[in-house]
Symmetry: C2
Subunit: 319 residues, 2 copies
Amino acid sequence: MSEQVVIGIDIGGQTTKCGVVDARGDVLSQTVVRSDSHTDVKPYIDELAVALKKLIADADAEGSVRGIGVGAPNANYYTGEIENAVNLTWGVQGHIPFAKMLSEAMDGLPVALTNDANAAAMGEMTYGAAKGMKNFIMITLGTGVGSGIVIDGKMVYGHDGFAGELGHTCMVRHNGRQCNCGKTGCLEAYCSAIGVARTAREWLDMSDEPSELRSLDKISSKDVFDAAKNGDKLALKIFDYTGTLLGQAFADFIQFSSPEAIVLFGGLARAKEFLTDPIQKAMNANVLPLWKNKVRLVYSQLKESDAAILGASALAWEL
Amino acid sequence: MSEQVVIGIDIGGQTTKCGVVDARGDVLSQTVVRSDSHTDVKPYIDELAVALKKLIADADAEGSVRGIGVGAPNANYYTGEIENAVNLTWGVQGHIPFAKMLSEAMDGLPVALTNDANAAAMGEMTYGAAKGMKNFIMITLGTGVGSGIVIDGKMVYGHDGFAGELGHTCMVRHNGRQCNCGKTGCLEAYCSAIGVARTAREWLDMSDEPSELRSLDKISSKDVFDAAKNGDKLALKIFDYTGTLLGQAFADFIQFSSPEAIVLFGGLARAKEFLTDPIQKAMNANVLPLWKNKVRLVYSQLKESDAAILGASALAWEL
C-alpha cells in the first residue's frame, strides 16, 4: 500500500478507540482497547502500541502511516501532555508526556494530541460539514458542552493550549445552576444531556402540567427527546428553552469571532428537529444587525460511530 | 532619509488625524484635516492626499514610506471598504472602496484599513503594552466599548471582516438597558463612558444616598471619576459595579481564546485605580480554575494623543 494514511485515537474513561484512516475519511481498520486496566501509563501505552501495530498490519499500511492524532481529556496540544485528567485511571496526577511516550513506543511515528472537542472540529473541517470552511465554531452537545474554534483555517489553542471552553461561559448570572466545574450558571449546566434532564426534573417539580415524563423513575435527555417526538408539550417546551439558551450563547460567540457557521455534534444534537428553530430565533435576536440571518447552523456529517476516530486522525494530517 | 516609515490615519466623525511613524513608534510629523467638510468622499480624499504629501515632505520621508494604515468606523479589512458609516458625512450610504481610492490618490502607495479598536490592538502589539504578546484581547473603554482580538500573533477578522464586537455581548439578559445598537443588555450599555454616567443617574434616582454628584445638572463619567477621587461613596460603588461587569465579561472572553492578557485603553481606563480590583476579582471568580490568577490585566502604554495614529500606522508594517 502506498497511499498515505493516518491513525486516529480517541481516549475515553473506559475505552480507547483506534482506527487507520485514509485521506477521504474512510476508516480502513479499527479496534478498541481498554483505557482503565492500568493505574500507570507505561503498561497502557505498551498495550496500545501492540494494538496499533496489528491495526496497521490489518490495513496493509506498513510504511504508509504519516502520523498519529490523539483526542483525550485535558490534552495540551502545545506540550503533547495530558494534564491532571481525573477521568483516566493513569492520568490523575501531574503532567504525562503522552505524545512523546507513544511516539517512542511506535518507533518514532509523530504524535499530536488535543482535547475531544477540538478533535471533533478538526474532523468536521477535514472530512465533514465544515469542509472548506476557514471560520467556524464546533459545539459538542454530549454529557457536557464542549467547543472547538477554528479561525482563518486554524484551530484556536490560545496562550496555554486550553482555549475554547465555551461550555463554561455564563448563561445565568444570578442563582444559576451548580456546574461540575465548580462555577454556577454555565451553559453546560443547562444545555448538555445532563442539563436537559435536569430541566425536566425541575419543571416537573415546579408545575402540575401533565406530561408522559411524570411516569418515569429516572429521566434522561433521551426520554425528553422521545416524549417530544410524541408531542408531549412539556418536553417540547424543554427543547424550546434549551435551544433558546444555546442561541443566546451562540450570538455572543458570533460577536467574538464572526464565524461562517456554528457546527453541532453529539447525542443531544440528534434532537435537531426541536432545537433548530429556537436556536436560530435566539441567535438572530441577539446578534448585531450585520449578522442577522448570516451565520449558518449546521449539523455534523460524520457517522457517529466513526466521528471520534476521524476527529483525532484529522490532527495527524498536519504532522 | 532611508529608514522605512509608515503613515497612520485615524478617521473620526469630525477630524482625521494623520502622522508619519517610524519603527520605534515615534511620530515624526503629524497633522489634522476635517472629516466633515464634504458629503462626497472624492473631494475628502483629494484634500487628505494633499495633506499627506506635505506631511511626508515635512518628515523628509519621500521614497521611504512603506504604506498607509487607516483606522475608521465600519472599515472592512478584507475588502478595504468603509460600509454604511453613519457617523461620516461622506460615508452614510453603501460601500466606499476607500483603500483603493486613497492608494490611487497617493501614487500607488499600499493602503490597509480596519476599525479603530482593531487598530488600537495592532498599535499596542507593535509599540505598546502588548509588545511580544501573541494572544491578547484589547478592550477600548470610550464613548462605546470596542474590542480587538489577537490570536497567535494575528488580528482576528472572522469570516466577513467584522469579528470582535465584544461591546455587544450580553451582560444583562432580562430587562437590560437599551443599547445604541438596537439590542438590550449589551456590555457597552453599562461599561462605556456613557454607561457609567447612566448608572450614576439611575442610582441617584433610585436612592437617597448622599453624593456630591447630586449637585450636578449633567453627569459625565469624568464627574463620577472626580467624585470617586474625592472619596464619594456612591461614585466608588459605581466603579465597583462597572469593574465587576467588565470582569464577568472578560472571564467569558478568556474561556473563548485563552489570552495571555486583557489590555485596556480609552478615557474610562484612566480610572484604573478604581477599576482594577473589581475587574480582577470578578474575572477570577468567573473563569475555570485553570485560569485563576493566570491572565494579566494591563493598561495601554501608548501616549493617548498619539495612540490613534500609532494604531492605524501599525497596520501598514504588514503591507
